[in-house]
Symmetry: D2
Subunit: 340 residues, 4 copies
C-alpha cells in the first residue's frame, strides 16, 4: 500500500468533528449561517483573537474565501500585492482577475513578502495609467512552508498602514504556522484587516473562518458572499465543525501533530544526508533529492516535485497532516536511500 504525503486534505474530518455533525443532523436549524452553532463558533474565535469587535464568517473553501474578501475590499482599479508564489497569483485559476483585479507578484525567494518588496511595487505604480496597489495578501504558512513571526507580521502591518494598504492573511494552514511559532491569533487580529483560520487542512471536512477586524470590510460582507456562491445553505455545518475544532484546543493539537510528523520526517531525511531548500518548520517540507532516488521512492510513497534544479536533482514536497501516522513517517524514512 502506498504511503500518502501529497497534501493535508486527503482524509475527512477528525472524529470529534464528525460526531458533532452527527449529533445535530436532524435538528431543525436556520440556514445561511444564521444559527446558534455559527454564533457560538464566532464568539469563540473572537475570544481567541481578543477581538470583541471582529466579524467572523464561515466559508467552505480557500479560493472562495480569498475571492470574497478581495472582492469586498477593492475598488475596480485597485490591485492586490503578493509574493510571486502567492496562491492567488498562481493556483486559483485567475479568480482575482476574474473579479476584475490585477495581482502584482513580488519576487520572494522564501515565499515571504517584506516591506522592501511592497515598497518597490508602490514606487512603480505612480499614476492613473497603472493600477493602484491597495491590498497586501500573504499566507501563513506560505506556499513553501515558511512562517511569518509576530515581528514580521507587525512590520508588514506597519508598512501597510503607512501606505493605506489593507493587509489580508490567508490562513489555510494557520494552525501549522501557529504551532511552528508563527504569529499568534491576537497579533493577526491586531495587525491584519482580515485573515482566515483554515479548517479544511486541519481537521474539518471543509471550512475557513474569515475574521474581519476592519469595519470597512464588514459592511455588506454577506452580500458579497452570497453573490459569489459562497454562502452555504446549511451554514451550521461550518459553525458546528469550528465549534468542535476550537473546543479544548483540538485545532491547535491537530496542527501540532502535523508539524511533529513533518519534523520527524525532516530529521530522518537529514540523518540520511538530505538538504532542504528552506529550513523545514511547518507541515510542508521541501527536501532536495536526486531524481532517480525520488522515482524509486515513489514506488512506495506519494509525493510531488516542487521544482527541478537541473543536473538530475529537484526540490520535492512532502506534506503531513493531523491524520498522518507516526508509523507511516517511519516507514517512509526506512525507504529513503542515504545520500552518499
Amino acid at each position: 500500500m502506498m504511503l500518502c504525503f501529497t497534501s493535508d486534505y486527503t482524509t475527512g474530518a477528525h472524529p470529534r468533528v464528525l460526531e458533532a455533525l452527527q449529533a445535530i443532523n436532524l435538528r431543525e436549524t436556520a440556514g445561511y449561517g444564521m444559527d446558534e452553532d455559527c454564533r457560538a463558533a464566532a464568539a469563540h474565535v473572537r475570544d481567541l483573537c481578543a477581538a470583541p469587535q471582529a466579524q467572523v464568517h464561515f466559508l467552505v473553501g480557500g479560493t472562495q474565501a480569498n475571492l470574497v474578501l478581495i472582492t469586498a475590499a477593492l475598488r475596480p482599479h485597485e490591485a492586490a500585492v503578493c509574493a510571486e508564489t502567492g496562491h492567488i497569483n498562481v493556483h486559483e485559476t485567475g479568480s482575482i482577475e476574474a473579479a476584475g483585479h490585477k495581482v502584482l507578484g513580488v519576487p520572494a525567494p522564501d515565499g515571504k513578502l517584506t516591506r522592501e518588496g511592497i515598497e518597490i511595487v508602490l514606487a512603480a505604480h505612480a499614476d492613473e495609467h497603472m493600477v493602484k496597489p491597495a491590498l497586501v495578501y500573504i499566507s501563513n504558512t506560505t506556499e513553501v512552508g515558511t512562517v511569518y513571526t509576530d515581528a514580521e507580521i507587525e512590520a508588514i502591518s506597519a508598512c501597510c498602514r503607512e501606505n493605506a494598504l489593507a493587509l489580508y492573511v490567508d490562513g489555510a494552514r494557520l494552525g501549522s504556522a501557529i504551532a511552528a511559532g508563527g504569529a499568534s491569533l491576537k497579533t493577526l487580529a491586531r495587525c491584519a484587516d482580515a485573515f482566515t483560520i483554515g479548517g479544511t487542512k486541519n481537521g474539518a471536512l471543509f471550512g475557513e473562518a474569515m475574521v474581519l477586524t476592519n469595519p470597512a470590510l464588514m459592511r455588506d460582507f454577506r452580500y458579497i458572499m452570497k453573490q459569489r456562491g459562497a454562502m452555504l445553505a446549511k451554514g451550521w455545518l461550518l459553525g458546528a465543525q469550528f465549534a468542535a475544532l476550537l473546543q479544548d484546543g483540538l485545532y491547535f493539537d491537530l496542527a501540532a501533530h502535523a508539524n511533529t510528523m513533518a519534523n520527524r520526517l525532516a530529521l530522518g531525511m537529514k540523518d540520511r544526508g538530505y538538504g532542504f531548500l528552506y529550513p523545514p518548520v511547518s507541515n510542508q517540507i521541501f527536501p532536495i533529492m536526486r531524481d532517480g532516488a525520488a522515482q524509486r521512492l515513489m514506488q512506495h510513497v506519494q509525493f510531488q516535485r516542487a521544482q527541478p534544479l537541473g543536473d538530475g536533482e529537484s526540490v520535492w514536497r512532502f506534506v503531513t497532516s493531523w491524520s498522518t501516522k507516526e508509523a507511516d513517517v517511519d516507514a517512509l524514512i526506512d525507504f529513503l536511500e542515504p545520500v552518499n
Copy 2:
C-alpha cells in the same frame, strides 16, 4: 416546540448519506473530485440519464452551480432569459450580472417560461445596441412550486434549438419535480444542454450534480469551477453523498416522501376551506390565508409570507422535505382555523 415548514434545507443529511461519509472518513483520497466516489456517482448519473456521453461535475451549492454554468456558456455580450421570478433574477444577489451578463426576466404568472415568452424577448433584441439572448434558464420545480412536464420541456427545447439558445435547467428541487410527474432525467438529458440534480434539498448535507450534455460546455469546465471557488478540495464528499443517494433509488424515495407530506398538508388545507395560488403539486405549496389567521398559526408553526394580496389576505409558503414527519403535518393541520 415550533413546527418548521419554512424550507427544505433545515436538517442535515439522510442517515445513509452520513454513514457513507463516516465509512470513508479516514481513507486517503485524491482531491478536487478526481476520486473513485465521484467517478462512480457520475457513472450512475449517466446511466439514469441514458446519456453515456454526458459530463457530470459535483458542486457544493445552487448559486455556485448556476453561476459556473452560465459563466461557462456565455460570451460577454450574451444574456440569460428566465421567468421574472427566476432564482438567478431575484435571489442570488446579482451573481450572473457580477459575472458580466444581463438577465432578461420574462413575466410568467405561474413561474413557467413558454415559447411565447422566449420569442417576445428574442424579437425585442435585434441588434448590437442590445444584449444578445443566448441561454434560457428554467427551474424544475419552479420557484413557485409548479412543474414542467416532459412535453413542456420538449417544447422549450425545440424553441431554444431553433433560435440557437442553450437550455439550462436548475434542478435544485428536481427530485420533487420528477416525483410530481415532471420531466424525467432522460428527457432532460435529451432536451437540455445542461441541468443540475439537487442534493442539498433532498437528503444530502450539500451538493448539486451538474450534468453537461452539450460538448461545447464541457470544454475546460473544471477551469471555470476552480476560478469561481466552486471546486471542493475534498471532492469525494460530494461523490460519496450522491453515490449513497442514488443507490436503490433513495433520492427518488426521499422526494416522493416530501411531496406526499405536502399533498397531505394541502388536502388538510382544502378541507378547511383554503384556496391556493397555484395547484399544489410539489413540496412547496402556496395557500391563500387571511393575515390574522396566519399570524395566529405562526405561534405554532414557522412558515413565510410569499406575497401580500391586499385586503388583509396573503399568499403563504409552506415547504416539506425528506425529513418532514407525518405527525408534524397532522399537528399543523390541527392548528388551521377553518375558513368560514
Copy 3:
C-alpha cells in the same frame, strides 16, 4: 434627396467648434486631459453650475460616460435603478452588467422615474439574497423626449438622500432639456451626485462633460476612466470643443434651435390632425401615425418606428438637432398626409 430626422447625431460639429480645433491643431499640448483647454472648459462648467468644488471630466461618448460613472460609484453587490426604458437598461448592450452590476428597471410610462417607483424597488430588496439598490439613473431629456423639471429633480434627489442612493443624471440631451424648461445646471449640481452635459448631440463632434459633485465619486475617477478605455490621448480635443460650445452660450442657443425645429414640426403635425404619445416638448417627438401613411412618408423622409400600437397604427420618432434646417421641417410638413 431624403430629409433626415432619425437622430441628432447625423452631422459633424458646429463651425465654431471645428474652427477651435483647427486653431490649435499644431500646438504642442499635454495629453490625457491635462491641458489648458480642459482646465478652462472645466472652470466654465463649474461657473455655470455654481459648483466651485465640482470635478469636471471630459469623455468621448455616452455609453462610456455612464459605464465609467456607475463603475466608480458602486460596490459589486450594488445595483442601479432606472426607468424600464432607461438607456443603460436597453440600449448599451449590457455595459453595466458587464461591469458587474444589475440594472433594476422600473415601469415608467412617460419615461420618468418617480419617488414611488424608487420606493417600490427599495421595498422589494430587503436582504443579502438580493442586490442592493445604490444608485438612481435618470436621463434628461428621457429616452421618450420628456423632461424633468427642477421640482421633479429635487423630489427624486430628496428620495435618494433619504435612502442613501446616489443620483446620476445622464445629460446626453441636457441642452434640449434645459431649453425646454427642464431642471437647470444649478439644480442638477445641487441635487445630483453626478451628471453629464452632452456634446455629441448638441454641436460637438463628440464629447460628454461629466460633472461630479459628490467627493466620494471624485476619488481616483481618472483611474476608472483610463481602465475602461475612456481617457482620450489627445484630451484637449474635448476641452477645446466644450470651451467653444460654452462661449457666449452657443451650447444653449443650439439646443434652443433644435427644440424650435421640433416644436415647428409638432405644430405642423397637430395641424394635420396627428396626436402624440407624449406632449412634444423637446427635440424628440413621438407622433401617432397609421403605418401606411408612415411608409409613404418614408419615401421622402428618414425616421423610425418607436413602438407598434396595433390596428395598423404606430408611434413614430422624429428627432431634430442644432443643424436641422427650417426649410427641411417645412418640406416634411408638406409631405404629411392629413388625418381624416
Copy 4:
C-alpha cells in the same frame, strides 16, 4: 520656448485629415460606423493587407482597442501572454484584468517576445488550478522602440498556431514599425488573428483600425465594441480620417518622417558620444545620459526618464512624430552636452 519630445500624440491631425473632416462636416451620415467613409477605409485596409476576407473596425483609442479585442477573444479562464513591459500589462490600469483576464508577463529585455518565452509560460500552466494561456499580445513597435521583422512575426505565429494561441499585434505605432523595416501589413494579415493600425500617433486626431482575420473573432465583434463604450456615435469621423491617411500613402510617409527625425536625433547623440539602451530604429529612442546633463537639457527640451541605471545615470526617452520639425531636432542636438 520649449522643444517637445515627450510623445507622438502632442499635436492634432495632419492638415489633409482635418480637411477631410471639414469637407463632410454637415453631410447627413448614418451613425456607429455604418457609413460610406468607414466602408471605403475598410476596403482600402483590406487591399493593403491583401486580406479580402478580413473585417475592419474603427475604434477611438488604443486601450479601448486592446480591451475590446481581448474581451472578444478569451473565455473567462483564459489569459493573455505578453512581454513584462507590454502596454496591457503595465500602462492600461488593469483594463484586461477588469475584463476578467490574467495577463502573464514574460521577461523580455528588448521588449520583444520570443517562442522561448511563450513556451516557458505554456509549460508552467499545466492544469485547471492555473489560468490557461490563450492569446499572445505583442506591440510593433514595442514599448521600447524595438521592431519585429517579418521573420520574427512568422516565428511567433508558428508557435501560436502549434499551441492554439491567438496572436494579436497592437499597432499603435505600426506606421513607425513598417517604416523601420518591420513586418508588413500582408505578413501581419497572414500571421496574426488580429492587429491594429494606429492613427492617433501617426496623423489622425484619434483612431485605431482593428483588422480581424480570424473568423472566430469576427462573430458579434460590434456587440463587444458597443458594450465597452467603444462604438463612436459619429463613426464616420474615424472612417474619414483613415481614408485620408491611406490615400496616396500619406500614412506611410508620415511614419517615415517620424523615423527620419528620430534617426537624425540619434545620429546627433552618437556624435556627441551618447550610447543607447537599444539600437535606435523607430520613432522612440532611448539614450543613456548622466542625470545632471539631462536636467540641464530639460531647461530647453521636454522628454522623460525611462529607467534609472544608478550611479547618476539613466535611460531617457525621446519621441518624434509626423509633425516633428527638422529644425527642432537640430536645435535639440545643439543643446546636447558632449560626453567626455
